[in-house]
Symmetry: C2
Subunit: 404 residues, 2 copies
């Protein structure tokens, strides 16, 4: 943790609240921290840390436990951890055919979980919002009454306005201009802040905070299924873009002679590596979904020539696009999720070779391409982080607002 | 200015030094600020601002002047500005055929300037470093003795390691692994910190701080001549990448059937829009430089069919690549510098149409594509900012080190 951001003044009146948030965020991220670790990591004094921890205890956000005296020599330090009866958030992952809702506590613990399949003819924004609200109520009802939700975070497979949380476009659900926060709020029957984010952005955040990219400050997360989206962490911060629409890697133009994409562009990367392209090349244009992709990969492994050619071509295009992104971002890690993750597991050398043929050697040398660690929970845990962000930025104000 | 970075604790002992830097940076960026503006922008109290300004005066970094009493009603506020006899930095712009060196004062004022053409057979790293050191000594000698240089910032047309300042590769100078800070330091005969950055990164920084993109927090700067490099500002901060190599847009793969680039990849954007491609398409493969580009654009305007077709094709490829970058970054502004700037001025509609055919409408709608405001001075002023960064981050320590 560095001392300060260069461009922000430190106002005496804001320092206590800010430092409460820094300590809470560190405990939240790690699950538990000793007082001495907190002292070392923040650079604050022991007595300041003691006062901040006491205040977080009084707010019901953390608890302290005595250290196990037999474990180590020296004067042991108290351990600070998220309060088991502390506030939690509602995390919602809207996928194309499923809605998953969880209660997630400080420390990133999933406390309760509900999911429901969404049939193809029940995917209007209103129907999906009703499903979200219904599952959220069930999650809240299943949790002890002494705890309470403080915010809702929603992951959606679409382009989300940073300013309003409105879904500008979700091509695979055929949605446009959907005011998701309002639709859920009307159906939830509770006054809670509702924050919405793009699934790949939230996947990137979750893998950065709790997954395979925990120690990376510069990473790209690619969520590749039918559509191909991405999230980027730059120097530890999410890349939003001016409107919140950054990371649309699927619509990077990679082939001037390529087919026309649903976005209107030609030769978008998504048309080269998406699930539809793989299955079409493999001679199964009517198939879809992770199982069909797995079957195609298995057929390629068994030596089926058409499946093998399809997997080879998609892998080469994956590597070529990853190489372009390596030149653009110089990331330390690229996390490939969704059904593309299975392609990566099947053809790592081919993908790597295409990346190295495309990227500058200095940038290629330091990038690793890996599957995600959190699997399908990445977007859910990312949605939880979105909902926790106001609490971690200002615990005093957020807890006061939640009690009001 | 926001209150704090979310991930950094505010240590009482570091606050004064930090706030001195925040006030100095604000004055440096604006040139002059009234005390009341500083109070409003930082959120600090009037008395704290008064104390910080006094301390900066005592350090010789700023001066205060009385406001002009006749200008406005109400109680006028003192105006704080960079001290005319304060410290300055040496800014060096290494270009392929020229070296430019300037003394730049706080506030971004160019105090003195020297340049020298570098003949093609005198471009070894040692020869260029000797030229830099020689011009720097001349600049220092031309400035009053009561002022003094505190650091050197160097812009180079190459890929620079963030950790060491070493130039990993500068293709158009045919350099590899050049320890530029050491080469200049040995020849300068003064002990000054020497910081090196990529020209497009520094151009982006200068246009963001002092140029056309002053009010943009998310922008892309493209420096297109023979090679095409870029710099990105994300939410007000430079995109470095893990090693400092981000922004190599010229090597974004845009055409699988394209020609092989000097980097080894095929169909790199640079091979579609660089100066060589334009002149080759126009039937002048032996020509090079801004004058030949201007002649080709003029010939196209006069109706020369071959020149017109060349400019059209390069413009279409420019727009297509800018569209891909728009999908990736969702920038507010794209600043196109170098000889590509002339192409942009010549064919704005064609470039815009290709961008809109490639980028998602939500992202295309908010991006503007413009020429730079600072022209050839962008990299020089960016190099000055690189050299000023340690002073602005910690004025007390930097001034103490400079006096030692």
């Amino acid at each position: 943790m560095q001392a300060h951001s260069r461009t922000s003044a430190a106002r005496p009146d804001a320092i206590r609240s800010h430092n409460l948030g820094v300590v809470l965020a560190d405990v939240h991220r790690a699950g538990a921290r000793s007082r001495s670790e907190l002292t070392r990591r923040t650079g604050l004094t022991r007595s300041t840390i003691g006062a901040l921890v006491s205040e977080l205890c009084a707010l019901g956000l953390v608890v302290e436990r005595r250290p196990d005296l037999h474990v180590r020599a020296g004067r042991p330090s108290h351990v600070v951890q998220a309060a088991p009866s502390g506030p939690y958030v509602i995390a919602i992952s809207v996928e194309i055919d499923t809605v998953i809702v969880a209660g997630v506590g400080l420390g990133g613990r999933i406390l309760a979980r509900q999911d429901e399949a969404v049939p193809e003819d029940e995917r209007s924004p209103e129907q999906v919002a009703a499903c979200c609200a219904d599952l959220a109520r069930r999650v809240i009802a299943s949790l002890p009454r002494r705890t309470r939700p403080i915010a809702v975070g929603v992951s959606v497979p679409g382009v989300v306005s940073r300013a309003t949380g409105c879904i500008e476009i979700a091509p695979n659900l055929d949605w446009r201009d959907v005011p998701m926060p309002e639709l859920i709020a009307e159906r939830l029957g509770r006054s809670l802040p509702i924050l919405v984010g793009n699934d790949a952005d939230l996947g990137a955040l979750a893998e950065h905070l709790r997954g395979v990219a925990r120690d990376c400050s510069d990473l790209i997360f690619i969520n590749g299924r039918i559509g191909v989206g991405g999230g980027v962490i730059v120097d530890g911060h999410r890349l939003h873009g001016v409107g919140g629409f950054a990371g649309e890697f699927g619509h990077m133009a990679v082939d001037p002679d390529g087919i026309v994409c649903h976005c209107g562009g030609a030769g978008c990367w998504e048309t080269k590596i998406g699930e539809r392209r793989l299955l079409e090349l493999a001679g199964r244009p009517e198939a879809h979904g992770p199982i069909a992709v797995a079957e195609t990969l298995a057929a390629a492994d068994r030596g089926d020539p058409r499946a093998r050619a399809a997997v080879d071509e998609v892998s080469s295009w994956m590597g070529r696009g990853l190489g372009a992104l390596t030149n653009i971002f110089n990331p330390e890690m690229i996390v490939v999720g969704g059904t593309l993750s299975a392609v990566l597991r099947s053809r790592p050398e081919r993908i790597r070779a295409a990346l190295e043929a495309t990227a500058l050697p200095v940038a290629a040398a330091t990038v690793t391409v890996v599957p995600p660690a959190l699997g399908a929970d990445a977007t859910l845990l990312g949605a939880a982080e979105l909902a926790f962000a106001p609490l971690l930025a200002d615990p005093l104000r957020t807890m006061a607002a939640a009690s009001a």
